[in-house]
Protein backbone atom coordinates (compact mmCIF):
# COMPACT_ATOMS: atom_id res chain seq x y z
CA UNK A 1 0.00 0.00 0.00
CA UNK A 2 0.96 3.65 -0.48
CA UNK A 3 0.38 6.41 2.01
CA UNK A 4 -0.81 9.84 0.80
CA UNK A 5 -0.07 13.12 2.56
CA UNK A 6 -1.95 16.24 1.50
CA UNK A 7 -1.57 19.94 1.94
CA UNK A 8 -4.14 21.04 4.56
CA UNK A 9 -5.43 23.54 1.97
CA UNK A 10 -7.33 20.72 0.34
CA UNK A 11 -9.19 19.86 3.54
CA UNK A 12 -11.24 23.00 2.96
CA UNK A 13 -12.80 21.39 -0.09
CA UNK A 14 -12.66 17.79 1.13
CA UNK A 15 -13.12 17.83 4.92
CA UNK A 16 -13.49 14.05 4.96
CA UNK A 17 -9.80 13.69 4.11
CA UNK A 18 -8.66 15.53 7.20
CA UNK A 19 -9.55 12.69 9.51
CA UNK A 20 -8.48 9.85 7.26
CA UNK A 21 -5.20 8.01 7.04
CA UNK A 22 -5.16 7.71 3.24
CA UNK A 23 -3.75 4.43 2.03
CA UNK A 24 -4.21 3.21 -1.53
CA UNK A 25 -2.70 0.39 -3.62
CA UNK A 26 0.76 0.86 -5.13
CA UNK A 27 0.89 1.83 -8.79
CA UNK A 28 1.37 4.93 -10.89
CA UNK A 29 0.78 8.36 -9.38
CA UNK A 30 -2.20 8.68 -11.74
CA UNK A 31 -3.67 5.55 -10.18
CA UNK A 32 -2.96 6.86 -6.71
CA UNK A 33 -4.74 10.15 -7.40
CA UNK A 34 -7.73 8.38 -8.92
CA UNK A 35 -7.90 6.12 -5.88
CA UNK A 36 -8.27 9.15 -3.63
CA UNK A 37 -11.46 9.97 -5.56
CA UNK A 38 -13.02 6.96 -3.86
CA UNK A 39 -12.59 8.62 -0.48
CA UNK A 40 -13.43 12.11 -1.76
CA UNK A 41 -15.36 12.19 -5.04
CA UNK A 42 -14.13 15.02 -7.27
CA UNK A 43 -10.73 15.25 -5.59
CA UNK A 44 -8.77 14.65 -8.78
CA UNK A 45 -10.44 17.64 -10.46
CA UNK A 46 -8.53 19.85 -8.04
CA UNK A 47 -5.19 18.24 -8.79
CA UNK A 48 -5.49 17.40 -12.48
CA UNK A 49 -6.89 19.25 -15.47
CA UNK A 50 -9.40 17.64 -17.85
CA UNK A 51 -6.48 16.00 -19.74
CA UNK A 52 -5.25 14.26 -16.64
CA UNK A 53 -2.17 16.49 -16.40
CA UNK A 54 -1.02 17.91 -13.09
CA UNK A 55 -2.24 21.48 -12.67
CA UNK A 56 0.37 24.15 -13.17
CA UNK A 57 0.73 25.18 -9.54
CA UNK A 58 0.45 21.77 -7.93
CA UNK A 59 3.46 19.71 -6.90
CA UNK A 60 3.63 16.00 -6.22
CA UNK A 61 6.52 14.08 -4.79
CA UNK A 62 7.10 10.38 -4.34
CA UNK A 63 8.92 10.06 -1.05
CA UNK A 64 11.52 12.83 -1.52
CA UNK A 65 11.59 12.88 -5.35
CA UNK A 66 9.52 15.37 -7.32
CA UNK A 67 7.19 13.81 -9.89
CA UNK A 68 8.76 13.77 -13.35
CA UNK A 69 5.81 13.03 -15.66
CA UNK A 70 3.43 15.91 -15.00
CA UNK A 71 1.44 15.11 -18.15
CA UNK A 72 0.23 11.56 -17.46
CA UNK A 73 1.61 10.94 -13.95
CA UNK A 74 3.12 7.64 -14.99
CA UNK A 75 5.79 7.68 -12.26
CA UNK A 76 5.48 4.51 -10.19
CA UNK A 77 5.09 4.39 -6.44
CA UNK A 78 6.38 1.25 -4.74
CA UNK A 79 4.71 -0.48 -1.83
CA UNK A 80 5.46 1.33 1.40
CA UNK A 81 6.07 4.62 -0.33
CA UNK A 82 4.46 7.97 0.41
CA UNK A 83 2.97 10.41 -2.10
CA UNK A 84 2.93 14.04 -1.06
CA UNK A 85 0.51 16.45 -2.78
CA UNK A 86 1.01 20.13 -2.13
CA UNK A 87 0.71 23.50 -3.77
CA UNK A 88 3.43 25.59 -5.32
CA UNK A 89 3.56 28.89 -3.50
CA UNK A 90 2.33 31.81 -5.55
CA UNK A 91 0.38 34.99 -5.29
CA UNK A 92 -0.33 37.60 -2.70
Amino acid sequence: MVRVELTPHLYRFFPVLETLQIEVPAGSVAEVVRAIDKFAPGFSDYILDERGALRRHVLVSINDSILIDRKTLSDQVADGGTVYIFQALTGG
Binding site: H9, L10, F13, G42, D45, Y46, I47, D49, E50, R51, A53, R55, R56, H57, V58, Q87, A88, T90, G91
Partner: protein
Protein backbone atom coordinates in the same frame (compact mmCIF):
# COMPACT_ATOMS: atom_id res chain seq x y z
CA UNK B 1 -35.28 48.23 -7.71
CA UNK B 2 -32.63 45.68 -6.87
CA UNK B 3 -31.85 44.99 -3.23
CA UNK B 4 -28.73 42.90 -3.71
CA UNK B 5 -25.26 43.47 -5.12
CA UNK B 6 -22.77 40.72 -5.88
CA UNK B 7 -19.09 41.51 -6.21
CA UNK B 8 -16.41 39.18 -7.48
CA UNK B 9 -13.14 40.21 -5.87
CA UNK B 10 -9.58 39.00 -5.62
CA UNK B 11 -10.29 37.66 -2.14
CA UNK B 12 -13.79 36.26 -2.48
CA UNK B 13 -17.45 37.06 -3.10
CA UNK B 14 -18.89 40.15 -1.43
CA UNK B 15 -22.67 40.47 -1.21
CA UNK B 16 -24.35 43.73 -0.27
CA UNK B 17 -27.96 43.91 0.91
CA UNK B 18 -30.02 47.05 0.78
CA UNK B 19 -31.38 47.80 4.24
CA UNK B 20 -33.63 50.83 3.92
CA UNK B 21 -31.46 53.49 2.34
CA UNK B 22 -28.17 51.81 3.30
CA UNK B 23 -26.23 49.02 1.61
CA UNK B 24 -24.60 46.60 4.03
CA UNK B 25 -21.96 44.02 3.10
CA UNK B 26 -22.14 40.50 4.44
CA UNK B 27 -19.00 38.73 5.63
CA UNK B 28 -16.93 37.78 2.59
CA UNK B 29 -17.67 34.39 1.07
CA UNK B 30 -15.19 32.11 -0.74
CA UNK B 31 -12.69 33.88 1.51
CA UNK B 32 -9.21 33.99 0.07
CA UNK B 33 -10.23 32.65 -3.34
CA UNK B 34 -10.15 34.97 -6.37
CA UNK B 35 -13.66 35.32 -7.79
CA UNK B 36 -13.57 36.72 -11.31
CA UNK B 37 -17.35 36.92 -11.78
CA UNK B 38 -20.42 36.66 -9.57
CA UNK B 39 -24.05 37.05 -10.56
CA UNK B 40 -27.62 36.11 -9.69
CA UNK B 41 -29.80 34.12 -12.07
CA UNK B 42 -32.93 36.30 -12.34
CA UNK B 43 -35.09 33.29 -13.17
CA UNK B 44 -34.69 31.39 -9.92
CA UNK B 45 -32.42 33.47 -7.68
CA UNK B 46 -29.50 31.06 -7.82
CA UNK B 47 -26.24 32.84 -7.01
CA UNK B 48 -23.15 32.03 -9.04
CA UNK B 49 -19.48 32.72 -8.46
CA UNK B 50 -16.64 31.84 -10.79
CA UNK B 51 -13.71 30.75 -8.65
CA UNK B 52 -10.33 31.50 -10.16
CA UNK B 53 -8.27 29.21 -7.93
CA UNK B 54 -4.56 29.80 -8.25
CA UNK B 55 -3.80 26.14 -7.64
CA UNK B 56 -6.85 23.96 -7.98
CA UNK B 57 -8.28 24.97 -11.35
CA UNK B 58 -11.28 27.15 -12.22
CA UNK B 59 -14.53 26.09 -10.56
CA UNK B 60 -18.06 27.39 -10.50
CA UNK B 61 -19.76 27.81 -7.16
CA UNK B 62 -23.54 27.80 -6.84
CA UNK B 63 -25.86 28.85 -4.02
CA UNK B 64 -29.53 27.99 -4.08
CA UNK B 65 -30.25 29.46 -0.65
CA UNK B 66 -29.35 33.10 -1.23
CA UNK B 67 -25.70 32.72 -0.33
CA UNK B 68 -26.07 30.83 2.97
CA UNK B 69 -24.31 27.78 1.54
CA UNK B 70 -22.36 27.18 -1.64
CA UNK B 71 -21.68 24.10 -3.73
CA UNK B 72 -18.52 24.03 -5.86
CA UNK B 73 -18.80 22.39 -9.27
CA UNK B 74 -16.07 20.86 -11.41
CA UNK B 75 -18.44 20.06 -14.25
CA UNK B 76 -17.22 22.56 -16.84
CA UNK B 77 -14.49 20.85 -18.85
CA UNK B 78 -13.25 20.79 -22.41
CA UNK B 79 -14.18 17.52 -24.10
CA UNK B 80 -11.52 15.12 -25.38
CA UNK B 81 -10.30 16.26 -28.79
CA UNK B 82 -10.81 19.96 -28.16
CA UNK B 83 -7.62 21.58 -29.37
CA UNK B 84 -6.65 25.07 -30.34
CA UNK B 85 -3.86 26.72 -32.25
CA UNK B 86 -1.29 28.02 -29.82
CA UNK B 87 -0.89 31.77 -29.54
CA UNK B 88 2.41 33.33 -28.60
CA UNK B 89 2.79 36.45 -26.53
CA UNK B 90 4.42 38.88 -28.93
CA UNK B 91 7.25 39.92 -26.65
CA UNK B 92 10.08 41.96 -28.18
CA UNK B 93 12.29 38.90 -28.56
CA UNK B 94 9.54 36.71 -30.06
CA UNK B 95 10.68 35.05 -33.26
CA UNK B 96 7.69 34.01 -35.40
CA UNK B 97 9.82 31.31 -37.01
CA UNK B 98 10.39 29.43 -33.78
CA UNK B 99 10.37 26.62 -33.18
CA UNK B 100 9.40 25.53 -36.67
CA UNK B 101 7.33 28.30 -38.16
CA UNK B 102 4.42 25.86 -38.27
CA UNK B 103 1.23 26.20 -36.22
CA UNK B 104 1.28 24.37 -32.95
CA UNK B 105 -1.73 22.81 -31.34
CA UNK B 106 -2.60 22.41 -27.70
CA UNK B 107 -5.20 20.32 -25.93
CA UNK B 108 -7.67 22.73 -24.40
CA UNK B 109 -8.07 23.02 -20.68
CA UNK B 110 -10.15 25.59 -18.83
CA UNK B 111 -7.95 28.44 -17.64
CA UNK B 112 -10.64 30.89 -16.55
CA UNK B 113 -14.44 30.90 -16.49
CA UNK B 114 -14.62 34.57 -17.32
CA UNK B 115 -18.34 35.26 -17.51
CA UNK B 116 -21.76 33.66 -17.12
CA UNK B 117 -25.05 34.45 -18.85
CA UNK B 118 -28.52 33.16 -18.22
CA UNK B 119 -30.98 31.83 -20.78
CA UNK B 120 -34.49 33.13 -21.33
CA UNK B 121 -37.36 32.46 -18.96
CA UNK B 122 -38.56 29.89 -21.49
CA UNK B 123 -35.27 27.97 -21.08
CA UNK B 124 -35.11 26.93 -17.44
CA UNK B 125 -31.69 25.56 -16.58
CA UNK B 126 -30.02 27.13 -19.63
CA UNK B 127 -26.72 28.81 -18.77
CA UNK B 128 -23.82 30.08 -20.82
CA UNK B 129 -20.21 30.39 -19.76
CA UNK B 130 -17.39 32.17 -21.57
CA UNK B 131 -13.90 30.92 -20.94
CA UNK B 132 -10.24 31.38 -21.63
CA UNK B 133 -9.08 29.82 -23.97
CA UNK B 134 -12.04 31.03 -25.99
CA UNK B 135 -14.69 28.36 -25.47
CA UNK B 136 -18.41 29.03 -25.10
CA UNK B 137 -20.08 26.43 -22.87
CA UNK B 138 -23.79 25.72 -22.57
CA UNK B 139 -25.67 23.99 -19.76
CA UNK B 140 -29.32 22.95 -19.83
CA UNK B 141 -29.44 21.53 -16.31
CA UNK B 142 -28.50 24.47 -14.16
CA UNK B 143 -24.76 23.84 -14.36
CA UNK B 144 -24.65 20.15 -13.46
CA UNK B 145 -23.26 19.42 -16.92
CA UNK B 146 -21.82 21.59 -19.68
CA UNK B 147 -21.23 21.20 -23.38
CA UNK B 148 -18.73 23.08 -25.50
CA UNK B 149 -20.34 24.99 -28.37
CA UNK B 150 -18.42 23.37 -31.20
CA UNK B 151 -19.48 25.65 -34.08
CA UNK B 152 -17.86 28.61 -32.35
CA UNK B 153 -14.84 26.62 -31.15
CA UNK B 154 -14.32 25.35 -34.70
CA UNK B 155 -15.16 28.63 -36.44
CA UNK B 156 -13.25 29.32 -39.64
CA UNK B 157 -11.83 32.46 -38.09
CA UNK B 158 -10.17 30.27 -35.50
CA UNK B 159 -8.67 27.72 -37.83
CA UNK B 160 -11.59 25.41 -38.53
CA UNK B 161 -12.50 22.07 -37.06
CA UNK B 162 -9.54 20.77 -35.14
CA UNK B 163 -11.67 17.96 -33.72
CA UNK B 164 -11.85 16.24 -37.09
CA UNK B 165 -8.52 17.45 -38.41
CA UNK B 166 -10.27 19.47 -41.10
CA UNK B 167 -8.53 22.71 -40.22
CA UNK B 168 -6.97 25.60 -42.01
CA UNK B 169 -4.35 25.89 -39.29
CA UNK B 170 -4.70 29.65 -39.31
CA UNK B 171 -6.36 31.52 -36.49
CA UNK B 172 -7.42 35.14 -36.61
CA UNK B 173 -8.16 35.25 -32.91
CA UNK B 174 -5.51 36.87 -30.77
CA UNK B 175 -4.51 36.21 -27.22
CA UNK B 176 -5.60 38.26 -24.25
CA UNK B 177 -3.20 39.53 -21.60
CA UNK B 178 -5.80 38.34 -19.08
CA UNK B 179 -4.63 34.81 -19.81
CA UNK B 180 -0.96 35.52 -19.28
CA UNK B 181 -1.54 34.86 -15.58
CA UNK B 182 -1.82 31.23 -16.58
CA UNK B 183 1.42 31.25 -18.54
CA UNK B 184 -0.28 31.32 -21.92
CA UNK B 185 -1.58 33.93 -24.34
CA UNK B 186 -4.99 32.79 -25.53
CA UNK B 187 -8.32 34.41 -26.45
CA UNK B 188 -11.16 34.74 -23.96
CA UNK B 189 -14.95 35.14 -24.14
CA UNK B 190 -16.02 37.82 -21.69
CA UNK B 191 -19.42 38.96 -22.99
CA UNK B 192 -22.48 36.84 -23.85
CA UNK B 193 -25.77 38.52 -24.80
CA UNK B 194 -28.99 36.56 -25.17
CA UNK B 195 -31.67 38.47 -27.08
CA UNK B 196 -34.77 38.69 -24.86
CA UNK B 197 -36.97 38.65 -28.00
CA UNK B 198 -35.42 35.45 -29.32
CA UNK B 199 -33.16 33.30 -27.17
CA UNK B 200 -31.65 31.69 -30.27
CA UNK B 201 -30.15 35.09 -31.09
CA UNK B 202 -26.83 35.43 -29.28
CA UNK B 203 -23.87 37.78 -29.43
CA UNK B 204 -20.52 37.00 -27.89
CA UNK B 205 -17.43 39.17 -27.66
CA UNK B 206 -13.95 37.70 -27.73
CA UNK B 207 -10.79 39.36 -26.53
CA UNK B 208 -9.01 39.87 -28.83
CA UNK B 209 -10.89 38.77 -31.93
CA UNK B 210 -14.15 40.71 -32.06
CA UNK B 211 -17.90 40.23 -31.86
CA UNK B 212 -19.74 37.22 -33.27
CA UNK B 213 -23.45 36.63 -33.73
CA UNK B 214 -25.58 33.52 -33.94
CA UNK B 215 -29.21 33.59 -35.05
CA UNK B 216 -29.77 29.85 -34.77
CA UNK B 217 -29.05 29.09 -31.15
CA UNK B 218 -25.32 28.69 -31.64
CA UNK B 219 -25.34 26.30 -34.60
CA UNK B 220 -23.53 28.88 -36.72
CA UNK B 221 -21.67 32.12 -36.05
CA UNK B 222 -20.68 35.15 -38.10
CA UNK B 223 -18.30 37.98 -37.31
CA UNK B 224 -19.96 41.31 -36.60
CA UNK B 225 -17.13 43.82 -36.72
CA UNK B 226 -18.08 46.11 -39.57
CA UNK B 227 -17.30 49.69 -38.70
CA UNK B 228 -14.85 48.72 -36.00
CA UNK B 229 -11.55 50.57 -36.18
CA UNK B 230 -8.44 49.01 -34.75
CA UNK B 231 -5.83 51.70 -34.28
CA UNK B 232 -2.96 49.33 -33.73
CA UNK B 233 -3.35 47.07 -36.77
CA UNK B 234 -1.82 47.85 -40.17
CA UNK B 235 -5.37 47.66 -41.55
CA UNK B 236 -7.65 49.41 -39.04
CA UNK B 237 -10.70 47.99 -40.84
CA UNK B 238 -9.59 44.38 -40.58
CA UNK B 239 -12.44 41.96 -40.01
CA UNK B 240 -10.73 40.28 -37.04
CA UNK B 241 -8.24 41.15 -34.39
CA UNK B 242 -10.42 43.70 -32.63
CA UNK B 243 -10.33 43.95 -28.89
CA UNK B 244 -13.75 44.42 -27.38
CA UNK B 245 -13.35 44.91 -23.66
CA UNK B 246 -17.07 44.46 -23.03
CA UNK B 247 -20.35 44.58 -24.93
CA UNK B 248 -23.89 45.04 -23.67
CA UNK B 249 -27.33 45.49 -25.21
CA UNK B 250 -30.44 47.42 -24.23
CA UNK B 251 -32.96 44.96 -22.76
CA UNK B 252 -35.97 46.79 -24.27
CA UNK B 253 -34.23 47.51 -27.59
CA UNK B 254 -31.76 44.65 -28.07
CA UNK B 255 -30.60 45.94 -31.44
CA UNK B 256 -28.89 48.75 -29.59
CA UNK B 257 -25.49 47.44 -28.57
CA UNK B 258 -22.60 49.21 -26.89
CA UNK B 259 -18.98 48.24 -26.96
CA UNK B 260 -16.14 49.59 -24.88
CA UNK B 261 -13.22 48.58 -27.02
CA UNK B 262 -9.48 48.90 -26.59
CA UNK B 263 -9.67 51.51 -29.34
CA UNK B 264 -12.61 53.54 -28.10
CA UNK B 265 -16.34 53.42 -27.49
CA UNK B 266 -18.53 51.98 -30.25
CA UNK B 267 -22.31 51.93 -30.70
CA UNK B 268 -24.58 49.91 -32.95
CA UNK B 269 -28.26 50.61 -33.52
CA UNK B 270 -28.73 47.72 -35.92
CA UNK B 271 -27.95 44.63 -33.90
CA UNK B 272 -24.17 44.82 -34.45
CA UNK B 273 -24.53 44.70 -38.23
CA UNK B 274 -22.46 47.88 -38.15
CA UNK B 275 -20.66 49.84 -35.47
CA UNK B 276 -19.89 53.54 -35.17
CA UNK B 277 -17.07 54.97 -33.13
CA UNK B 278 -18.54 57.43 -30.66
CA UNK B 279 -15.50 58.20 -28.55
CA UNK B 280 -14.92 61.78 -27.49
CA UNK B 281 -11.22 61.84 -26.57
CA UNK B 282 -11.30 65.59 -26.01
CA UNK B 283 -13.94 64.94 -23.38
CA UNK B 284 -12.07 62.02 -21.78
CA UNK B 285 -14.29 59.34 -23.33
CA UNK B 286 -12.15 56.83 -25.17
CA UNK B 287 -10.28 54.13 -23.27
CA UNK B 288 -11.85 52.01 -20.56
CA UNK B 289 -13.29 48.59 -19.85
CA UNK B 290 -16.97 48.49 -18.76
CA UNK B 291 -20.05 49.95 -20.42
CA UNK B 292 -23.66 49.98 -19.21
CA UNK B 293 -26.83 50.74 -21.15
CA UNK B 294 -30.21 51.94 -20.01
CA UNK B 295 -32.91 49.28 -19.73
CA UNK B 296 -35.35 51.16 -21.96
CA UNK B 297 -33.43 53.71 -24.03
CA UNK B 298 -30.84 52.13 -26.28
CA UNK B 299 -29.16 55.48 -26.88
CA UNK B 300 -28.35 56.08 -23.22
CA UNK B 301 -25.14 54.54 -21.92
CA UNK B 302 -22.43 54.99 -19.30
CA UNK B 303 -18.68 54.41 -19.43
CA UNK B 304 -15.91 55.00 -16.92
CA UNK B 305 -13.06 56.73 -18.74
CA UNK B 306 -9.49 55.67 -18.08
CA UNK B 307 -6.31 57.32 -19.30
CA UNK B 308 -5.09 54.93 -21.99
CA UNK B 309 -3.90 51.43 -22.62
CA UNK B 310 -0.42 52.56 -21.67
CA UNK B 311 -1.63 54.07 -18.36
CA UNK B 312 -4.59 52.07 -17.11
CA UNK B 313 -5.73 54.40 -14.36
CA UNK B 314 -8.08 57.28 -13.64
CA UNK B 315 -7.72 60.41 -15.73
CA UNK B 316 -6.17 63.32 -13.85
CA UNK B 317 -6.04 61.21 -10.68
CA UNK B 318 -9.81 61.64 -10.22
CA UNK B 319 -12.71 59.34 -11.03
CA UNK B 320 -15.55 60.31 -13.32
CA UNK B 321 -18.44 58.57 -15.04
CA UNK B 322 -19.54 59.60 -18.54
CA UNK B 323 -23.13 59.37 -19.80
CA UNK B 324 -24.59 59.85 -23.22
CA UNK B 325 -28.30 60.17 -23.93
CA UNK B 326 -28.02 60.50 -27.69
CA UNK B 327 -26.18 57.44 -28.92
CA UNK B 328 -22.77 58.84 -28.17
CA UNK B 329 -23.10 62.14 -30.04
CA UNK B 330 -22.26 63.92 -26.80
CA UNK B 331 -21.13 62.91 -23.36
CA UNK B 332 -21.65 64.43 -19.94
CA UNK B 333 -19.11 63.80 -17.17
CA UNK B 334 -20.20 63.32 -13.57
CA UNK B 335 -17.83 63.62 -10.61
CA UNK B 336 -20.01 64.45 -7.60
CA UNK B 337 -19.28 62.02 -4.81
CA UNK B 338 -16.27 60.51 -6.57
CA UNK B 339 -12.67 61.20 -5.45
CA UNK B 340 -10.93 63.89 -7.43
CA UNK B 341 -7.46 63.68 -5.86
CA UNK B 342 -4.98 60.86 -5.52
CA UNK B 343 -7.30 58.37 -7.20
CA UNK B 344 -5.56 55.80 -9.38
CA UNK B 345 -8.45 53.39 -9.70
CA UNK B 346 -9.29 51.35 -12.75
CA UNK B 347 -12.66 49.69 -13.30
CA UNK B 348 -12.40 46.32 -15.03
CA UNK B 349 -14.74 45.04 -17.75
CA UNK B 350 -17.30 43.43 -15.46
CA UNK B 351 -16.86 46.07 -12.78
CA UNK B 352 -20.00 48.17 -13.44
CA UNK B 353 -23.70 47.31 -13.56
CA UNK B 354 -27.05 49.05 -13.84
CA UNK B 355 -30.50 48.30 -12.43
CA UNK B 356 -33.14 50.91 -13.21
CA UNK B 357 -31.76 54.30 -12.18
CA UNK B 358 -29.11 52.65 -9.99
CA UNK B 359 -25.52 52.16 -11.10
CA UNK B 360 -22.67 50.64 -9.16
CA UNK B 361 -18.99 50.12 -9.88
CA UNK B 362 -16.03 48.66 -8.04
CA UNK B 363 -12.38 49.38 -8.71
CA UNK B 364 -9.03 47.67 -8.75
CA UNK B 365 -8.11 49.52 -5.57
CA UNK B 366 -11.10 48.20 -3.66
CA UNK B 367 -13.38 51.22 -3.77
CA UNK B 368 -17.10 50.77 -4.42
CA UNK B 369 -19.43 53.54 -5.57
CA UNK B 370 -23.17 53.60 -6.10
CA UNK B 371 -25.47 56.10 -7.79
CA UNK B 372 -29.23 56.15 -7.46
CA UNK B 373 -29.79 59.00 -9.92
CA UNK B 374 -28.55 57.62 -13.21
CA UNK B 375 -24.90 58.30 -12.53
CA UNK B 376 -25.15 61.99 -11.67
CA UNK B 377 -24.13 61.72 -8.00
CA UNK B 378 -22.33 58.95 -6.19
CA UNK B 379 -21.95 57.55 -2.70
CA UNK B 380 -19.24 55.28 -1.42
CA UNK B 381 -20.09 51.78 -0.22
CA UNK B 382 -16.59 51.24 1.16
CA UNK B 383 -12.92 51.75 0.47
CA UNK B 384 -10.99 48.79 1.74
CA UNK B 385 -12.32 45.93 -0.30
CA UNK B 386 -10.08 43.63 -2.31
CA UNK B 387 -9.51 44.50 -5.98
CA UNK B 388 -12.92 44.22 -7.64
CA UNK B 389 -13.32 42.08 -10.75
CA UNK B 390 -17.09 42.17 -11.17
CA UNK B 391 -20.18 44.00 -9.93
CA UNK B 392 -23.68 42.72 -10.65
CA UNK B 393 -27.04 43.63 -9.18
CA UNK B 394 -28.98 40.62 -7.93
Amino acid sequence: MSNTLLLGTRKGTVIFDRKGSAWQPRPIQHAGIPVCYAACDPRDGTLWASLDHGHWGPKLSRSRDGGATWEDLSSLKYPPGARHIVQYLPTPDFDPQTPSGQPEYRDATVLKIWTLAFGAASQPGRLYAGTIPGGLFVSDDGGDSWELNRPLWSHDSRGGDLFSGDATSETLWGGTPASVDYGVFEPGIHSILVDPRDPAHIHVAVSSAGVLESTDGGQSWAGRNRGMLNDYLPDPNAEWGHDPHFITACPAKPDHLWQQNHCGVFYSADGAQSWSKVSAPDNSVHFGFPVAVDARDGGTAWVIPARSDMARMAIGDGLCVARTENGGQSWQLFRTGLPQDNAYDLVLRHGMDIAGDCLCFGTTTGNIYLSEDRGETWQSLGHNFPPVYSVRFG
